[in-house]
Symmetry: C2
Subunit: 597 residues, 2 copies
């Protein structure tokens, strides 16, 4: 311990001008719970966090990055009179993404699932400023973001600008994950943002055009039957809900519309789904997965499971069969790539700054410090790296604060909540609960901390004996997994965070959260809790499978209506006065979309 605190002093001097890093460094090396302990053990530092001081008369600057489900849902309820709000997004509309696969087949009109951000802002009486630009750099040390307008072409004036923030809300979403597979970027279509200046809606429209182009190609004079078949082979990579829904929509679109327009080639069409796992829809209940596979088999949609795509060219897709290692090539007319999500470069860069940035800074220390205790070095490295870098998304605590950057919040697909396990904190909890420092807990002492533990883990109170309580805690820990990258999660997080921002002042003297086990006082807010409304996969021909909370599985004809009503409930408030609610309901009833005057 002496060695370490001596190191701290030296490092602290060396880090002159990097005071926040030096503090971070200490925590890093001292805390057994990892860097996480920082924000909780030093609440006095986080003056700019949600839990910080709000007594200043000047409005705090909130910069929001992104206008997807998370960002829009945050803006929806935020009390804009208390904050100076600026929104930066390359996309000046909010898209109802669950209906994107329907846009690809023309079931739903692109315009109907997009709501301009400026219209949403107008409803808030224009107290929010919006810039159509991409955030290119987050600088947490200067509390500043650098942005570049994505309208740089023909722009009169400077396209780059910087914004200062007191609070930063990062909700930029994720991007396509190609897993580095050669040829994917160039030769596939996507239903998720691919890169700068490409937008989901345009991609969806492009897919719609390309599908009909494939038919136009297939009927051209002078092609062999084999060539016609290849032009009409539609391949979907990824058997998750998006890929499955696209395959199903495509099948219906072809069977209901296209074969009538191109009768000569109707028997040459083929749809194939490639899935690396053993089943499609493997995040769903197994009954749903089987139901979908049986339905697809009946529809003639081929499902290739246990295959990994190794490359995609403009004419062929190469696969490796995982069980045998065999490699084969399939000619294709169109490939839709819908496998998981990856990290955006700006987030990757930010993660490196607050993660391995620390490690790189170490190289700039006077040489004697680095050499001084060589075994400190790998410890710092390992902790800092795991801290943010070796992840697909920004790590936050249960209050959606980015770990290592308390005045920065991250939500939606670009973030992941990193909960510690209660069992890791048992010693701390025991220490806090043991008020008389007797080394044993009285029933009263135990009762005092129980509510806080239950609150922290979202458990309901029951009657436990001590063993039952321990096993209940273990069970709660084992249930902790990262939340899926879905619209549901993002929308709930945005809504949760806006409530926190709105109750900032009253929560200062009336905290509602659990007791801080690694600090004094209580947390201002309850931690974020995700309410799962289930999952949904339209399977074509009005067949739909849905998994709802409480082990309730619904498959068949009317499920889709049920599901849209779930969504309508989720988005009801957000889009109350817009045309959305109507579309969703009307679509549920299988009437085409209906734009009100």
């Amino acid at each position: 311990m002496t060695i370490l605190s001596s190191f701290f002093k030296k490092a602290s001097t060396a880090f002159n001008g990097y005071s926040s890093y030096s503090k971070l460094l200490v925590v890093c090396t001292l805390s057994s719970g990892g860097l996480l302990a920082y924000s909780e053990s030093q609440p006095d530092v986080s003056t700019h966090s949600v839990e910080g001081d709000q007594s200043e008369s000047k409005k705090k600057k909130v910069v929001v990055l992104g206008t997807g489900w998370a960002g829009t849902s945050f803006l929806k309820d935020l009390d804009v009179s208390s904050y100076d709000v600026q929104v930066v997004s390359p996309r000046n509309y909010f898209a109802f993404t669950p209906l994107l696969p329907s846009v690809t087949c023309g079931t739903v009109e692109a315009r109907s699932i997009a709501e301009p951000i400026r219209k949403i802002i107008k409803k808030r009486n224009a107290e929010i400023q919006f810039w159509e630009a991409e955030c290119t750099k987050i600088d947490p040390s200067k509390k500043m973001v650098s942005c570049k307008s994505n309208l740089y072409k023909n722009l009169v004036g400077n396209s780059e600008f910087s914004l200062e923030y007191d609070y930063l809300v990062i909700s930029v979403g994720a991007q396509v994950n190609t897993f580095g597979t050669p040829g994917v970027m160039e030769n596939c279509h996507f239903l998720k943002v691919l890169k700068f200046r490409m937008q989901e809606l345009e991609d969806a429209l492009k897919i719609r055009r390309t599908v009909s182009d494939c038919f136009e190609k297939a009927v051209l004079p002078g092609l062999s039957e084999e060539e016609r078949k290849t032009n009409l082979h539609f391949v979907v990579v990824g058997g998750g809900p998006t890929g499955v829904e696209f395959a199903a929509e495509l099948h219906d679109y072809i069977q209901e519309d296209l074969v009538k327009l191109y009768p000569l080639v109707k028997d040459l069409v083929k749809i194939t789904i490639i899935q690396s796992g053993d089943h499609i829809l493997n995040s769903f209940d197994q009954r749903i997965s089987s139901f979908a596979e049986t339905k697809f088999q009946r529809d003639g949609i081929e499902v290739l499971t246990g295959c990994r795509v190794i490359s995609v060219s403009d004419k062929e897709i190469s696969l490796k069969i995982k069980s045998t290692g065999e490699v084969c090539s399939i000619p294709h007319g169109l490939v839709l790539w819908s496998t998981g999500v990856g990290t955006r470069p700006v987030i990757r860069d930010f993660m490196e700054q607050i993660g391995t940035g620390l490690y790189h800074k170490l190289f700039m220390l006077p040489i004697e410090i680095v050499e001084w205790k060589s075994n400190v070095y790998p410890i710092i490295y390992a902790q800092a790296f795991v801290f943010q870098t070796d992840r697909r998304a920004l790590a936050t605590n249960e209050w959606l604060q980015v770990k290592g950057c308390e005045n920065v919040y991250a939500l939606g697909d670009c973030a992941t909540i990193d909960q510690r396990k209660i069992m890791e904190d048992v010693a701390t909890i025991f220490e806090v609960a043991d008020k008389d420092k007797s080394g044993t807990l009285t029933v009263q002492e135990f009762q005092d901390v129980l509510d806080d533990i239950l609150m922290l883990r979202g458990m309901k109170e029951q009657k436990w004996d001590i063993e039952g309580f321990k096993s209940a805690l273990c069970h709660a820990d084992s249930q902790m997994k990262s939340l899926p990258a879905t619209a549901q999660v993002a929308a709930q997080q945005g809504s949760y965070l806006s409530r926190c921002f709105n109750h900032m002042e009253q929560s200062a003297y009336n905290p509602e959260g659990p007791q801080r086990f690694r600090g004094s006082g209580r947390h201002r807010f309850l931690p974020f809790r995700y309410k799962h409304f289930g999952q949904f996969a339209p399977l074509g021909g009005e067949q739909t499978a849905a998994e709802l909370p409480g082990d309730w599985v619904s498959m068949g004809h009317s499920t889709q209506w049920l599901w849209y009503s779930v969504y309508a409930r989720l988005i009801g408030l957000l889009l109350l006065e817009s045309r959305f609610a109507l579309i969703v309901v009307v679509n549920g009833l299988h009437i085409n979309e209906f734009v009100l005057p």
Copy 2:
């Protein structure tokens, strides 16, 4: 005369293998009426024309190029049981182009004004073959067109193919005319097809996006007021109906929608129309032109008349004021170029083949022929050149047959009807009418040709004395001007031609046309007559000016409804069962478009 016929013999020999050219050459040099006389004086040659033999049991091949107003309207009524019909067009939908300016401002949904060609074909029980491809070459000597699919990207198989025809119907439209102005192609937007693989609807959607982008640019932080103004300066080049309608729609769109979303910059917006003539809408009645100018002045739309654009850069547009010769530059945010139409390369090439092609062939003659009578050479050159090349569109006769290529028909914007003046034919008419070769016409002889003359010029019978008749003919001649490049003309020509094709057989023994003055017998059909339904210019704010037949000018509030009903009448039959009629009517009533299930 001896010299010329001697030339003919030599030329004829030299042109061995170019028999059609050699015959053409003769007519060229012999006929006082120019090449025009050819098709009429040698009706026996045109076995593949509409007026040709239809007794063969094998169906004649009709190839139609283009799916705009002319092509679609031709296909609509064509009796497909009598012909083997193949359609080639890079655009697989028919677009209701009069509503294109409304698409740019989102008043009308792009999808609502497009009807897939395959759906139109399906209604004809799929007896028509359609290829989504561009015609790259017309070879009249082989009666063949070369085509290239515009879906060459990722196409499996050969993208090029050739089609043989017995009759060719050219209705490929025109393209943007930049008059060679530097920078126009790169820096302007268009509402007319620009080049290969660009389509009107996509252009219109791009304009809509760009207008809102200009506002997004103008509100970016850190721009000077001057820079904001420049981003919000919308320039329309061309004061014809399209340019005026776009300016009016844009003004409404900005005032009704955009200024509410971008309140900070609402006073910085400016729209300018640049017109080379003295007035906008100069093809309209002068009252309409003044009405529009006054309305625009009230709306703050600047009209710069008497200015010629000399170049366009991404930031500025350079003008020359015609009266003073002064040159000035205006910074802009967006330029819409809508000035007249130009010839497509495939048509230009075809015109050269049948026009100056002849001239070029001359260079291949044995040298002694070219030198033999040097003054023949410029005559042939001048006539052949004027014949097709020195025009913006293919010259046809009154039956829409391309001059010099009788089994090829051209209609719509790519064609122009080249009528001879009756007065030029007076000698011939006199000769035909003077049956007893007395050198004078009896009343009876005159009466016999009168009906044919009236029929040929679309005049109604009246009581004339000889001087009155002569002056009536002069008046009819002076009224002959080329038809405007509008949807109305194209649709009527398509409809006329399909009727000719459908009545081919019965018209052989029961011709309905006027007497041939330069041949024997009667023409099979009445010549094409254009019925003018008037012109229409929406001026924004529900103000519309329309010019209707019979010197009827309507300006003001309800005119638009009236006009849409005219259009509904024009397109009523074509789109009876589609959703168009509904849109038109509903739009007239200013309810948004309404897509039926």
